[in-house]
Amino acid sequence: MKYFINGILRENPVLVLMLGLCPTLAVSGTLRDAVGMGVAVIFVLLGSNLVISLIRKGVPSQLRIPVFIIVISTFVTIIDYTMQAYQPELYKMLGVFVPLIVVNCIILARAEAFASKHSVSLSILDALGIGIGFVLAIGAMGFVRELLGNGSIVGRIVLGESFHQNPVLFMVLPPGAFLVIAFLMAAMRKWRTS
């Protein structure tokens, strides 16, 4: 249980450990894209943690990084093709960031630091905790950016029609992503130290 909770808040991969920044900033323009990305990352993280902790005793330590990368890229290819087939619109929005999950530091970091040293059940818990932490972080980004940049939540207009016509466009553009994550990180640090 400790491992599960840890990943969500105290060791949030994005806001505290600063891992996996690229997708967090790039595909958090709307809440839907952000959660779609989060689910893809959870899938790859679960699969790779599971397989790596299963094979951890049979992999020589000099060869472990290439083996991990092959395992991860297998799962990335699966999600890549599945998404292309069933969610073509989402796939188009996420673009190059779906194949780029393979170099997402969160996944390799968990494989190296956790799954290669712990049992299967603990590795699954760890993957879920870290994965949910990632979804929360990217979801928070998507929520703020979509709300202020488009006046909507998951495409439904909530801040009134006039705001939707003249939103804070800055928020959905690249600079807005940097600004929102800066404030989220500062808030997280304030909360951790208090």
Binding site: A26, I70, V102, P174
Partner: protein, 194 residues
Amino acid sequence: MKFFLIFLSAFLVNNIILIRFIGLCPYFGVSRRLSTALGMGMAVIFVMAVSSWISWIVYHWVLVPNGLVYLRTASFIVVIASLVQFLEMFLRKNFPHLYTALGIYLPLITTNCAILGVAFLNIDYGHSFIETTFFSIGTALGFTLVICLIASLRERLDLAPIPESFRGNPIAFITASLMALAFLGFVGLFGLSI
């Protein structure tokens, strides 16, 4: 002119870090000192050019004729990882000066998503071999420019009076946000768009 526009688009208008959000880990990780940022930039220019040629050749001459396109993600990461190892050995033997200058940045590059990202983008955009050259060199120069700019800014930021919660990374993100805003000003240059 076409090649010049591809170069300029990759270099400034669609800057890989500030607009595309690829390769953010080194952008925040090794940008505390100007000298280290410059070293990283040089290593990226070198590896990005070579790796995008090799991955273009692998994709168009090996994967496509044999119907193995689904192996794209796995094969590119293996090609890039082994290329970096090979380059390291080659440089150590033939260009020891360059090798010591690039130092630890060469192995770090294997997990730099900018390298893999450019290889994917070249395929997605359907670039020819020469276009690939201009695109990857432009991107790498853009990376170097931006990482050196933020390193110089962060050296000054160390001395500035910043609120406790924002010290370190959050203020770096806010700086990056302002830089991205400035780079948005390049949109429309020679009719180029994001």
